[in-house]
Each structure stands twice: as structure tokens, then as C-alpha cells.
């Protein structure tokens, strides 16, 4: 019958294909699969819709330095008077008295007139940056010391000082000369910050946490156990297939439905945020890297959790009772990883490593993310717009909450590799444990 000798692998992958295909078809016939996938899609779509709505709305522009007002009532905004050297607090002195007289400019010109133009690297020590676009620092009737309030010898600049505190934490301080980058464009900043924050939060909490934990909980816990309870496992085990293989192939079948689902949702998210997100280009191609990391991290998380929950199902009829506290633990770890990404306890979780992939890739794709958050939290250093009087711009606080540094102290690329390897090892370990449990299980 055999014309050419088949390798062991050939018959192995035939069995694998059969079980994977069987598992996929089995999922297809279950209502719960569609309910779970549909609910997951709806929940994420809801957030996408809110995101689109937010991005379509205008963010209030704030005159951070207050120079758009005509304080002295002479018809010229303070900014214009300051720039031209007349006294903004006296209606006796205004550019209209010049020869020839200068027409007053509209107040809107003095809102958002001095945005961020920072160019800094993440190195330690002092760096000088920033440029006074509107000239309210550089203008001539200030003294040299008034122009250099941060006393570094460069007039009208901003000092970013990065240092290490005695406890080992990185401390960043900002010393700005008065009137430099003090009136940034809130709309542009907030739009960008919300966009970045959206990608990170939906990636971390929406994809890795919610999809990553609940899809395996619903779909992987019963992969072996349901068959054992209903007695249909007998058909599969009466064939020359090792139980460890059955365990693996069933899990692959589960991944066969979960991974495409995650990929499709990831593409959807990338498209929505790419087209709707802020930016000059038609589409934000740079974000695709982060979306790739999100999809990849979710795939790894569903792999590890799938193996684990499947193994818990094999271990015990009510494996779910073990899985539920574990899922709650992972939820706590996810929140912890955003607050304290260095915590050692995170290394004992799955989600800590998966989130590290996203953080590392975000660091590579958006190298200026740190500076961006920093400038938003500084926000021009003036009187803030919110009720607490903080000068930070809207969107910077959630962005800084949702983004964090990979806590290994390695480079971004190395962290990605390490996290991926750890997740793969976790998956293999859970496979072996699950396979061994299954092998030693007596099935009635």
C-alpha cells in the first residue's frame, strides 16, 4: 500500500490535523462559543466607538499664559503688547501709538501660540531644549537675567534634568525660563495623548487582560474535561494517539479559533485607530508596530492560559474553581504592572510578561513617549486648566498610567525577546504538566 515510506512526523501531523479540525468544528457547533466571541467583540467595539466619538470632538483650547486677554482695555491683547514692548497694563501705552500705528491682532492668535518644541534624548544629566515661538521671552525689553531664569547661561530655554535618586529611582526635573513653550496647543496634545493612551489601554486591559483571560476561561477549561465527563473521550483515546498529544492538539484547536479572532480584532483596532487617530498623515503607520505587539502578546497570553486552564480542567472535575482565583490574581497583577512594573511578584504571573512585550515594543515604536508624557505633565508650567490647579494637560495622566517601562532593566528589544521566551517556556511547562496529569488519569 505504501509507495514511499512515511516519516513519523507525517502520521503525527495527520493526527494533529484531524484533532485540530475536529476541535474547531466542535467549537463551531456550540452556542456558547459564539456568545463569548460576540460579547468580546461587542465590548471592544463599544470602546472603539467611544474612542471615535472622542477623537471627533474638539478639545477646549486654553490660554495657559493668559496673554490673549486685553488686560488694560486698549484693544490690543497682552501678548501683542508684550511682543512689541508696550506696557500691557496701561491703556496709555499700546502699539496703536506707534508710527505708523499697528493694528490690533485677534485674541485667538495668542492662544496656543507657543507649543512644545523639545528635542531631548533619554540620557542622564542636563539637557537644554525648547524655543520661544511667540517671542514673549526673547523680546528685547527683558534683561539677560530675566531671559535666563534657570541660570544655565542660555537665554529662553528649558532644562531637562535626569538623575538618579538615592533610592535608585529616576528623577526628572524641568527648569524652564519664563515664557518658553508656555502656551501649548491643548487640542493637539490631548488628541495625541488620548490616542496613545487608547492604544496602550485597549491593548493591555482590553486585549491582554479581558480577551487573554476570559477567552481561555470559557473555551479552554473544558477542552479535555468536558469530553471526560460526557464519556466521548473514549473515542479519541481508543486510537493510537498519546494522551500528551491529544492534550496538545486540543489546545491547538482552541488556538485555531482564538488566534484568528484576536488577529481580526487587532486589525480592526489598528484600522480604527490608524484612520481616526491624530496626525498629519492619512494613516498612522507607526502605530502598526504597537498593534502587532498587542496582538502578539494576546496570542501568547491565550496560549499560556489555554494550556494552564486545560491542565486545571484535567486535574480536577471542577478545575474552574482553581482557575477563577487565578484569573482574579492575574487581574491584580495587570493593575500592579501599570503602577509598579519593577515589582518582583510580577515575574510570577503570566500577564506581567505579556504586558512587558507591549511596553517594550511601545518604547521602540514611540521613542519619544517619555518626553511626550513629561511635557504633558509639565504642561507649560503655568496656571493649569483643571480644578486642582495642576498645569498638566488633559490626557497626560491616563497616558502615564497606562504606559510603563519594561521592568527588567534591559533594552526594549531584549525585554521583548526575554518576555516571549518566558511565555513560551510557561506554555511548554503547562503543556507537560497537563499532559502528565492527563496521562496518569483513569478515565471511566
Amino acid at each position: 500500500m505504501a509507495t514511499k515510506p512515511d516519516s513519523v512526523f507525517r502520521s503525527l501531523d495527520r493526527k494533529a490535523a484531524a484533532i485540530v479540525e475536529f476541535t474547531l468544528r466542535q467549537y463551531r457547533t456550540r452556542t456558547s462559543t459564539w456568545v463569548v466571541l460576540g460579547v468580546g467583540f461587542t465590548a471592544l467595539a463599544l470602546i472603539f466607538l467611544i474612542y471615535i466619538d472622542v477623537m471627533a470632538s474638539e478639545f477646549e483650547s486654553v490660554d495657559n499664559d493668559g496673554d490673549s486677554f486685553d488686560t488694560d482695555g486698549d484693544g490690543y491683547p497682552t501678548g501683542q503688547e508684550r511682543k512689541l514692548g508696550t506696557d500691557p497694563f496701561s491703556d496709555e501705552s499700546h502699539p496703536g501709538m506707534f508710527d505708523p500705528p499697528i493694528e490690533p491682532e485677534p485674541a485667538s492668535k495668542y492662544i496656543n501660540e507657543d507649543g512644545f518644541d523639545w528635542d531631548v534624548t533619554a540620557s542622564f544629566g542636563e539637557q537644554s531644549t525648547g524655543y520661544d515661538d511667540d517671542g514673549d521671552c526673547l523680546n528685547s525689553n527683558r534683561t539677560a537675567s530675566q531671559k535666563d531664569t534657570n541660570e544655565n547661561g542660555i537665554p529662553c530655554d528649558i532644562i531637562i534634568q535626569r538623575s538618579t535618586s538615592p533610592t535608585g529611582e529616576i528623577v526628572i526635573q524641568i527648569f524652564a525660563d519664563e515664557g518658553v513653550d508656555e502656551d501649548p496647543d491643548e487640542d493637539a496634545y490631548t488628541r495625541e495623548a488620548i490616542h496613545l493612551g487608547f492604544v496602550l489601554s485597549i491593548g493591555k486591559l482590553g486585549f491582554v487582560l479581558l480577551l487573554g483571560i476570559f477567552l481561555p476561561l470559557f473555551m479552554a477549561t473544558g477542552l479535555i474535561r468536558d469530553e471526560m465527563t460526557s464519556g466521548t473521550m473514549h473515542y479519541m483515546l481508543a486510537k493510537p494517539v498519546a494522551r500528551t498529544e491529544v492534550f496538545l492538539y486540543r489546545t491547538l484547536g482552541y488556538l485555531g479559533i482564538v488566534w484568528p479572532y484576536v488577529i481580526v480584532l487587532g486589525i480592526l483596532g489598528a484600522l480604527v485607530s490608524g484612520f481616526v487617530g491624530s496626525g498629519d498623515d492619512f494613516f498612522r503607520f507607526a502605530d502598526l508596530g504597537v498593534w502587532l505587539a498587542i496582538v502578539f502578546a494576546t496570542m501568547m497570553a491565550t496560549l499560556v492560559y489555554g494550556m494552564l486552564f486545560n491542565a486545571l480542567g484535567v486535574l480536577w472535575k471542577y478545575g474552574i474553581i482553581l482557575a477563577i482565583p487565578f484569573a482574579a490574581w492575574e487581574l491584580g497583577m495587570a493593575l500592579l504592572s501599570m503602577g509598579a512594573p519593577d515589582a518582583t511578584i510580577l515575574r510570577f504571573s503570566v500577564i506581567g510578561w505579556a504586558l512587558m512585550i507591549i511596553d517594550s515594543v511601545a518604547m521602540m515604536v514611540w521613542p519619544n513617549l517619555d518626553t511626550f508624557i513629561l511635557m504633558g505633565e509639565w504642561g507649560g508650567g503655568g496656571q493649569g486648566s483643571d480644578i486642582f490647579g495642576s498645569s498638566s494637560l488633559q490626557g497626560s495622566v491616563p497616558l502615564s498610567f497606562f504606559s510603563s517601562k519594561p521592568g527588567l532593566g534591559l533594552s526594549a528589544f531584549a525585554s521583548t525577546i526575554v518576555a516571549t521566551l518566558v511565555l513560551l517556556i510557561q506554555a511548554v511547562v503547562f503543556w507537560f504538566i497537563g499532559g502528565a496529569l492527563f496521562k496518569g488519569k483513569e478515565i471511566q
Binding site: 470602546i47 467611544i50 489601554s201 485597549i202 477563577i324
Partner: protein, 349 residues
């Protein structure tokens, strides 16, 4: 056949007659009916200790029962008792050992504030007491605090309890046993509801009462203090009842739509935690709070904050919206539950 079998049994068969009034002690029968939730099915075979060579043939005698049917509440009480006592001892509904263990752990963990009040009362330091003593925030935290109570304790308890409470009946065919008795479906489902709710109440409300009582005892509070704080204690109890009711109705609705044991538990947990996480993302990032109206926990917390009188987490909408949302959730859940149970096919699945 029956008289043929007699020669096999040299020993005289033990005759036993059961009076209608005698207590139900059929442990073996009940376990067979409910399935052993004790652990693996592999182990259940060890229960049969009697050697098979000796058997008993019971005298088969059918007596039509002419007794008086107990009142309806008494029959319902039997169902309720069956479920509640199962937590404490054998011979009633066999809740799994891990579930009972988890209930114990949560009960003890819920007593942390009681312990702290007692400790601070013993030490007598006012600073410690101001942190742990009865206050609006602490009362709120006891019932509605998110971390850890409404993340790790109460929803998980509800999920574990609700997991098999109806679906297991459907799976094992014990619903047929219920419905062959003089019990209406409404009685059946309301007793299921009540038993799950009461077990949660034991954990949440009893520890709350203990907390309040511990404060009175340890600090020697007088009537004036009690009159002062009782309204907010009562408000906490009400919000606790609302929490238990909502978790139970959501859970039982999920339990009634599914055959499996896994699904209702995970679904309940994913509804409670998932919507909470979504609302968290949206309110943090976009400064829009509308999504929390979909989250049972956030609505409960909001209503609780309003009636207990603590700082609300979400303030873009009035708390009556949360109450309306809760009412809608419960209505949908109870409608699902009642329509599923009334159309449930009494078969073994």
C-alpha cells in the same frame, strides 16, 4: 424472580419500614441523586463498603400514602434547608469541599476589619481607631470596596455558588426529582435563589453586623452613638442586600441558560469584572462615564455611595441612573430565569 432469589440469601432479610413521619436520612440516595461534588468520580467507588456477596432483599410492599400534604412553606423550607445545611454538614446538598473552603476563607478574610476594631479597642489608641473604626467609608468598604472584596471575594463566591445550582440539576436529571414532587417551578427557583442569596448574606451581612457590634463592644459605645450611626449602618445593609440580590439574579439567570457548570460561573465573573474594567478604561482615558451604567458593580457602588453618603467614584450622572440600570439588569435577569425555568424540559441532559 423475587422468590427465586431467596435461596441465594441464607440470612433472613432485614425488614425495615419507613414511616411517613420519619426524618429523611437517605444519604446514599441523595448523593446518588446529586452526584458527588466531593472530588473525582474515581474516588466515589470507595463509598460502597458492603461486600456484594451479602445482599438484602427488601420486602416490596406498596402502600398508598394517605397522609396530609404539608403546607407549601414547609416543602419550600425543605429545599432551602437542603441547600443551606449542605454548607455545614454531610447528608444535604453536597457543595464541593473547595467551595466550602473558599467560603470559609472569604468569611475569615471579611472579618479583618472586625479584628482590627477589636485590636484598636484593646490598644486604645485613637489614631488606629480612626482608621479602622466604624465610619461611612469603612462601612462602604466592607460591603462594596472593590479591592479586594468585590474583586477577589464576593463575585467569586457568587460565581462558585451559582455555578451548578440549576445547571447541575439539569445535567444530573435531579430537576426531574424535584418536579415529580408537589413543588411548583416558582417554588423551586425561588428557593434556589434564596439559598444562594442567604449563603452570601452569611458572609457579607453577618460580618458587617459583627463589625458594627465589635465597635460597640470594644469602644463601649452608648445609645447616642448607635442612634447616630444606625442609619448609615442600615444603608450599608440595604446596599449589601442589593449587591447580593443582583449577583444572585445575574448568576442564576446564567445558570439557567447553560448546561455546563463552568459557563455560569465564568460568565458572571466576566460580566462583573469585565464591565468594571471597560468602564475604568473609558472614564480614565476619555473622561466619559456612560459605560459604568453597564457595570453591575459600578452601579451598586454608586447607589451605595449615594445612600451611605460617601464620595462617588462617578459623578457625571445622578445615582438614580445607576439605580435604574440595576433595576433593568435585575429585571432582565429575573425574566430570563423565570422564562428558562418555566420552559425547562425536565430531562436528563
Amino acid at each position: 424472580m423475587s422468590d427465586d432469589a431467596e435461596p441465594l440469601l441464607p440470612d433472613a432479610p432485614i425488614e425495615q419500614e419507613y414511616e411517613p413521619e420519619s426524618p429523611v436520612t437517605g444519604k446514599g440516595r441523595l448523593e446518588a441523586a446529586w452526584g458527588s461534588t466531593e472530588g473525582d468520580e474515581d474516588l466515589s467507588a470507595t463509598d460502597t463498603t458492603a461486600p456484594r456477596s451479602e445482599g438484602h432483599v427488601f420486602k416490596q410492599q406498596y402502600k398508598p400514602w394517605n397522609g396530609q400534604l404539608n403546607p407549601r412553606w414547609m416543602r419550600n423550607w425543605a429545599i432551602l434547608r437542603h441547600h443551606l445545611l449542605g454548607i455545614f454538614k454531610k447528608g444535604h446538598r453536597p457543595w464541593g469541599v473547595p467551595i466550602r473552603l473558599f467560603l470559609l476563607v472569604v468569611f475569615v478574610a471579611s472579618l479583618t476589619d472586625v479584628a482590627m476594631v477589636l485590636v484598636s479597642g484593646l490598644i486604645g489608641e485613637s489614631g488606629l481607631h480612626s482608621v479602622w473604626g466604624v465610619s461611612r467609608d469603612n462601612l462602604y468598604g466592607h460591603v462594596l470596596g472593590f479591592l479586594p472584596r468585590n474583586m477577589l471575594y464576593y463575585p467569586v463566591v457568587a460565581a462558585l455558588l451559582v455555578g451548578g445550582v440549576i445547571s447541575e440539576d439539569r445535567q444530573h436529571g435531579t430537576s426531574a426529582m424535584y418536579f415529580s414532587r408537589p413543588i411548583t417551578r416558582f417554588d423551586y427557583v425561588s428557593m434556589k435563589f434564596l439559598s444562594v442569596a442567604l449563603i452570601q448574606a452569611m458572609i457579607i451581612l453577618i460580618t458587617l453586623a459583627l463589625y458594627y457590634f465589635a465597635e460597640i463592644v470594644s469602644m463601649g459605645r452608648g445609645w447616642a452613638w448607635i442612634l447616630d450611626t444606625f442609619p448609615m449602618f442600615l444603608a450599608t445593609v440595604i446596599s449589601g442586600v442589593l449587591l447580593i440580590f443582583t449577583y444572585t439574579s445575574l448568576g442564576l439567570a446564567l445558570s439557567s441558560v447553560s448546561k455546563g457548570k463552568f459557563f455560569p460561573g465564568i460568565a458572571l465573573l466576566s460580566i462583573i469584572l469585565g464591565t468594571k474594567v471597560l468602564a475604568f478604561i473609558v472614564s480614565n482615558l476619555f473622561d466619559r462615564e456612560i459605560l459604568y451604567l453597564l457595570s453591575p458593580y459600578d452601579c451598586l457602588a454608586h447607589v451605595g455611595q449615594a445612600i451611605i453618603g460617601t464620595q462617588p467614584t462617578y459623578d457625571q450622572y445622578s445615582w438614580t441612573w445607576s439605580l435604574a440600570s440595576l433595576a433593568a439588569m435585575n429585571a432582565i435577569a429575573l425574566f430570563t430565569l423565570s422564562s428558562r425555568v418555566s420552559s425547562m424540559e425536565v430531562t436528563r441532559e
